[in-house]
Symmetry: C2
Subunit: 340 residues, 2 copies
Amino acid sequence: MASSRVTLRDIAEEVGVNPSTVSRALNPKTRGMVTGEIARQITEAADRMGYRPNPFAYSLRTNRSFTVGVLVPDLTNPAFAPIIKGIDNVLEASGYSVMVANTDNVAERERRNVDKFRERHVDGLVIATARRHDPLIDECRTEGTPLVLAVRKTTDSDISSVVSDEVTGGETIMSHLAQLGHRRVAYIAGPQELSTGFERHQGYVRGLNANNLEYDAGLVEFCDAFTEEEGRRAASRLLASGRDFTAIVAANDMIAIGIYDELQTKGLVCGKDISVVGYDDMLFSSKFDPPLTTMHSPLLDIGAEAARILLERIEDPETPPRSVKMTPELILRKSTGKPA
Amino acid sequence: MASSRVTLRDIAEEVGVNPSTVSRALNPKTRGMVTGEIARQITEAADRMGYRPNPFAYSLRTNRSFTVGVLVPDLTNPAFAPIIKGIDNVLEASGYSVMVANTDNVAERERRNVDKFRERHVDGLVIATARRHDPLIDECRTEGTPLVLAVRKTTDSDISSVVSDEVTGGETIMSHLAQLGHRRVAYIAGPQELSTGFERHQGYVRGLNANNLEYDAGLVEFCDAFTEEEGRRAASRLLASGRDFTAIVAANDMIAIGIYDELQTKGLVCGKDISVVGYDDMLFSSKFDPPLTTMHSPLLDIGAEAARILLERIEDPETPPRSVKMTPELILRKSTGKPA
DNA sequence: AAAACCTGTGCAAACGATTGCAGAGCATAT
DNA sequence: ATATGCTCTGCAATCGTTTGCACAGGTTTT
């Protein structure tokens, strides 16, 4: 990699001043300290010579890296990719670079990557892998690392986070179903150690109440992960239980896909024999067979907002933690209908 | 961000030697220079005290950052996400960090990000945004920046790249169709300034020849981008042309989806009235309606291999450029059948 | 006119590593 | 016994910035 040859000293010599003057002239914050004319000469020389500050020197001196680390469980999961994109969009505009790490949901890998990020002195972290109780997050907090959680939160509310309003989302779904006439609706929950899984399930029970439906433990199955395979297995258990129900709501779209799979192998047609609704409205959920009715989570915005909050906190370490809840939106498609 | 407090000097004082000795003891390459016992004491003290080298200092001195930049048109496009994941997997294992940049296919943004990466002295670049003639790539080449192209290449073969074998892929698709009995198959091509678009189209015409079908310019439409929308428009033009054909092959899965859309609005049923085949086998292409028969590109492997080649080149700058072609695999699903 | 204060600049010390060079100590060759 | 060589360690410079401090010169205050 060719190095950016020209340094502060070069410019200083060119203009005939001390490097420190050049430094001050080039830094907006200190520019006022130097005489207008000299500053002009310096900036002129700087871009004539193609000066590019050396980030290592800068960072060594200031301990700022203009870099943030992003942790996701799976880069290729359409429920996470948009978050990164959102983050990248706002961070790029502010001159930051984003480093990503894929953790595949393994705690050890999360820790390793957080450590790596810290060693590299990232200015902050956005974490989309947090569990409700997460020692790693606690650590970061006590270490004072600026961080914001995306799409998930911990039980500790002293940490910035941006999520969608999962419980009212879940509630809304139930109302939709109730309105269609469903009385017995099953639920396939996500992992309860994730706020997403936990709160969406909570939304389900609230929705039950709100619509005068009663909770039946036999109608809810839990998944160990937000995956198609887990969804399929849970659906299989549900079907095998012999219980009666006319709709299944899934804790997210991946699980919903798993349900599709199982229904299909059982010869049930989704949207007619049985309704199913997902959550997230991830890419292509409108292309499935049938198109999935689902709760749209504004993933891109969540990422962007997380980045903004992080930036705020980085620029001013005194900024108190802030938690924002985006409001999701129900997208009606073909996988729900009146009960058979 | 709390700084990693302990430095070489601290360890030096603790053990009672000069910082340079500590440096040597801790660096595997120079470890041999220091007496075994002392080295032992040093490493012992180092991890007792929790020493973490300061990357800025290291990089400032050595000009190495253990960082690579990755350029993709769209992080959220399922045809690119796996590439990043593949890259991350191998790079993480080698202690590198990956910085991503989303360029949305805008050249100016590509340039800006490459510049940013260079300023930050990344050790290398993997670029998935290259056009067949790409001044940006030329520049990088003459600057000597280690880089490897992923999933695309330029006409200049002196640049490392890893792609799937697009032309034989395209050819294979045609043979499949011919075997089913299709004689008139249309093609919806991708942008010809991208090697992917160009070579896949080339595969189409070779496949025509190989199966004794003749080329009919009226049966091919070109897209300006690998998008659903472009695919839909091209399909619309094709259908409107009044030409006769029994199958459409798309330059990639996104375009294929666009074709699905158009067929549906025209009341044609895909896989019966007309066959369509995609390319890439991106996530969920098995979930579409109907499941898409497509050419599987080993995206994850492509990313991983690109990372490996880059690493090679970084460690030894004399390594000559290397281009590898992965072999794709035809995945038969429901969108193709015998001609109506 | 002296005292006090600005304002703009330069000097030099960091930041935390790596590395060429010099030299101390000791073993081997002459 | 001297010369030669080898191995290990320390010294100090360096990478390119930022920034506290000193200070020169000019302005304002008393």
